[in-house]
Subunit: 334 residues, 4 copies
Amino acid sequence: MLKTTIIGASGYTGAELALMVTKHPELTLSGLYVSANSVDAGKPISQLHGKLAGLVEMPVQPLVDVQKAASECDIVFLATAHEVSHDLAPVFLAQGCQVFDLSGAYRVKADDFYTTFYGFEHQHENWLDKAVYGLAEWNAKEIESAQLVAVPGCYPTASQLAIKPLLEAGLVDSTMWPVINATSGVSGAGRKASMTNSFCEVSLQPYGIFNHRHQPEIATHLGCDVIFTPHLGNFKRGILATITMKLNDGVTAEQVASAFATAYEGKPGVRVKGETIPRIQDVENTPFCDIGYKVQGQHIIVVSAIDNLLKGASSQAMQCLNIKNQFAQLTALV
Amino acid sequence: MLKTTIIGASGYTGAELALMVTKHPELTLSGLYVSANSVDAGKPISQLHGKLAGLVEMPVQPLVDVQKAASECDIVFLATAHEVSHDLAPVFLAQGCQVFDLSGAYRVKADDFYTTFYGFEHQHENWLDKAVYGLAEWNAKEIESAQLVAVPGCYPTASQLAIKPLLEAGLVDSTMWPVINATSGVSGAGRKASMTNSFCEVSLQPYGIFNHRHQPEIATHLGCDVIFTPHLGNFKRGILATITMKLNDGVTAEQVASAFATAYEGKPGVRVKGETIPRIQDVENTPFCDIGYKVQGQHIIVVSAIDNLLKGASSQAMQCLNIKNQFAQLTALV
Amino acid sequence: MLKTTIIGASGYTGAELALMVTKHPELTLSGLYVSANSVDAGKPISQLHGKLAGLVEMPVQPLVDVQKAASECDIVFLATAHEVSHDLAPVFLAQGCQVFDLSGAYRVKADDFYTTFYGFEHQHENWLDKAVYGLAEWNAKEIESAQLVAVPGCYPTASQLAIKPLLEAGLVDSTMWPVINATSGVSGAGRKASMTNSFCEVSLQPYGIFNHRHQPEIATHLGCDVIFTPHLGNFKRGILATITMKLNDGVTAEQVASAFATAYEGKPGVRVKGETIPRIQDVENTPFCDIGYKVQGQHIIVVSAIDNLLKGASSQAMQCLNIKNQFAQLTALV
Amino acid sequence: MLKTTIIGASGYTGAELALMVTKHPELTLSGLYVSANSVDAGKPISQLHGKLAGLVEMPVQPLVDVQKAASECDIVFLATAHEVSHDLAPVFLAQGCQVFDLSGAYRVKADDFYTTFYGFEHQHENWLDKAVYGLAEWNAKEIESAQLVAVPGCYPTASQLAIKPLLEAGLVDSTMWPVINATSGVSGAGRKASMTNSFCEVSLQPYGIFNHRHQPEIATHLGCDVIFTPHLGNFKRGILATITMKLNDGVTAEQVASAFATAYEGKPGVRVKGETIPRIQDVENTPFCDIGYKVQGQHIIVVSAIDNLLKGASSQAMQCLNIKNQFAQLTALV
């Protein structure tokens, strides 16, 4: 049994991870932590997340002694703010822990990326270099040999899983930048009070137009410019991405179908649905990414749907853990 | 044209009032105010409430000089916190303004009520004595001659309009206390960020069991004990109250129908629907209270529905203004 | 491995059962059926319920030869209309199958009950006599020796689990009938198109006042008159019941706490939360009933919450199966 | 007072029109009709649409004698199915009525359009030729002299109002087709029961990809190819359109701002909000189209929001009536 600790257990992704670790036949929950000055410190996690009652009752501890926490686990999930993950990861790595980081702190190896998009200067370039981007269906081999996995963002997961098969197969005419319109449930903003997330203020609306930090994450990992417009939707969880692209001259619907089939054959985390168009409801509370598409003339619309807290965060982190440790990919997830 | 000012224009009820005053053929908007230290001070109201764009563009001013504000209007709506209304009302009254207070500060004349339920000691007993409770369908005569109208709370409006006709007709067996279960949309909690009102945390749930301040407001004005259990619902606006009562021996369905018909004949703000059971959707964005009921044996279920921001607050305030100034009751409301 | 068949696999409860059977380590899915003339016949279940893709792909068959279906399974779930269950159960029982019926066909042994409330005359009184009412936390012993389990309705489950501990402990003053106000998600009406369930028409509203068939089901099994008012809520799944009762003279909060503790100690399906009031969100997609309460003077408000499709139907059916076959109660459910 | 009749009064747009006509100081309601065999025939409209109680109580009549209905009004709104409008319009026109048709029957003058996209052959080409497309902000002059106004579809209204200013100003590089992603509330599908609109089945999802009939309506009236992807959203009313376009080399943000300002100056139905991005909530229950946009490099995102039942249907129809009859454009609408 691998001792597994979760930092950031008061948030929504932390709660999902706590449930998964508890269910996992090869893992044992070794610790739940929140930041040292959190008002939640000391409370049972089931008091913060009522749905965990009877399932996970361990208290969330204030993270005072990071070294000690690291010495008491084999694996750590960092469900923490970007800056916090940036600082914590090296401590756990130095102790030999496997680190699965759900933040953006180790996702992109590009000059000025962190100063520009995250507002801090990266101090751990060696770890940034070694980090493997945990897009589970595409980087399984690299994940197997990684000690630090940077789990992709929610929008980047939905977007890349939809675009990458066509791009890798050379079918996309990139003179027209792929246009990604995506809508996320409010849980994407985390568990905290704000006017933006206030029940009466939520109403379908784009935000972060042309300046959301997931745009460069998507573009860098795809190696292709994209136009990315995120929207806040009036639902709790899920992301739907509708992607419009131009195909190269002469590309057929068969080539498209074949590109998706090839990309995801034997990959249990993606369900290619052909011309059946995904909807959020079918992926809610599941670890799946559903993908559908339609071709007309030179244009294609690809639609993908995920649960933002699961395939867009916690279940993809667990899927990476499963890959890394050679468990079946969806262990504890279905 | 009567000059009409709104204090508390950044909140949801203030925004509704601003719209109504603008529409009203006999009123002119003389001022919109927020508290002196509000971050919203100086902004056009349409920036705070996007739906007002093109309709009301006046900026909300910081309320620094109350005397001056009072001297510049004939009528004031106080859409302010209880303590604030408590302090402001006498200033406006002293200047001869008509005051329509949407808070709880002048609603209940009972010893210890404000210390027990509102946490402050009332300093203006003379005005408390003179204040008229603005339950429009029942107190029209008193409202006509009042200078200070205490507009009822949202739950008390829905509850009393449903119960009062039967109680006044002597049909209720009060050995069983009326059981009021009511569900309110989230806007009832006002326009501010909190974990409770956070989109992802809202889920049908009772709150304030046995200790909500609207219980004594209802009981005092009805003159009858009641059990009142409020619920938070997963919708933005509206209140539905389901009320279970015991009728006196031998009371017939005809007597019940007659009691409702008598109570609300010629009262345009209440729509008695008989055995057609009200639903929130039909009263949203309207100034109406819908009432339906069903009798079986000695029991009756009465159901009432209102828009909590309108009949439960702003439109009832305007209805009182209309009554007081002898305009048609629903002027500017339909 | 016990061969398990589901009749009524096109509905929401059928889909949940199919998932559970697939997850269950001691069961194997032996058949999915719909009525012989269903338009869904022949389709993979994952086409009817998109969320099952990749998890359960078996086609739903038209139920033409009931004898044959019965001969091919050890256990059957009837997720069918009342009349259909009434007819099918005896065929499966005659073949020695364990039958878990989610309909109302075998729930109540009272004269005229089926003619009055279900509109048909019961033809199988012997089986009605032998049927055990599957309220899992209260009838485990009887379920162990039953061949036919009548799984309780959704409202009756939420209501009885909340009331029964106090009633059995003799704490309730039944001169005031318990007042049950309950709100159900729209899935309670099943998977079919109707104006009532149409997205734009759903709005919090009571229905079936004084004549819902779950009232006599609750009253009969409790042995106590109740006033039951169901509501349709604007959410997909879940039931919240708010129950107002009068306690006998002198009953203390401690006696109440002790009654709940005694009733549910060691029962994993009920989470007694004391004065923490349940909310629907915490039980959604779980097999739990959450219960909280508050006492004031002689009155008590008890609140219970369940997922109507799970503890109110499918997971309680599976819980009964687990009890009957001596598996851990929540196997395949958490 | 102009006598105004509404055909199709049982639907959502018919109900909105009935309210508007009642409020309008220059109109009198002369008739409400449904199709001759409708189950709703004879009922008061307030029974079909509970929110109209106390406001409009006129019964909806079966439309048996069209000639007679036409002879009894000056103006008719056709809130009817496309084929029905196609047949009815000429009868009313022949009697000299002003006809405002909310269907698609007279919107597009292009060969094969009706056979291809609406499944019927157009029989009234002379009227189709004379019909004016009622995009109020752009065709006011033509509307003034039209007898038949074809009110635009909901998606086409939101799309064209957002794109047309830039296109007319020659700023758009149409080598990249404008990409329109739009999400509509469920009321867009009308008032009828269907699995698609069933509460439990609604979940954010694209539909009609590459084959929705509003694509050619938009493209024809803009004179520009577009890629249009409609989505069903989990809300009752409203449309949000997010539109991605390429600008011509060297186009500046100032030119864009100027194009919008010029287009909508003095047009009360459109609220240009600059970089403030519209949200559905702000236009719900209003006659406005809100427009915002952001430019980066050669790309622009324009976002528009309308109430699909109002600016996307009924209020735009009334706005056209107001223009035609030289009333203020938003009479009876704010």
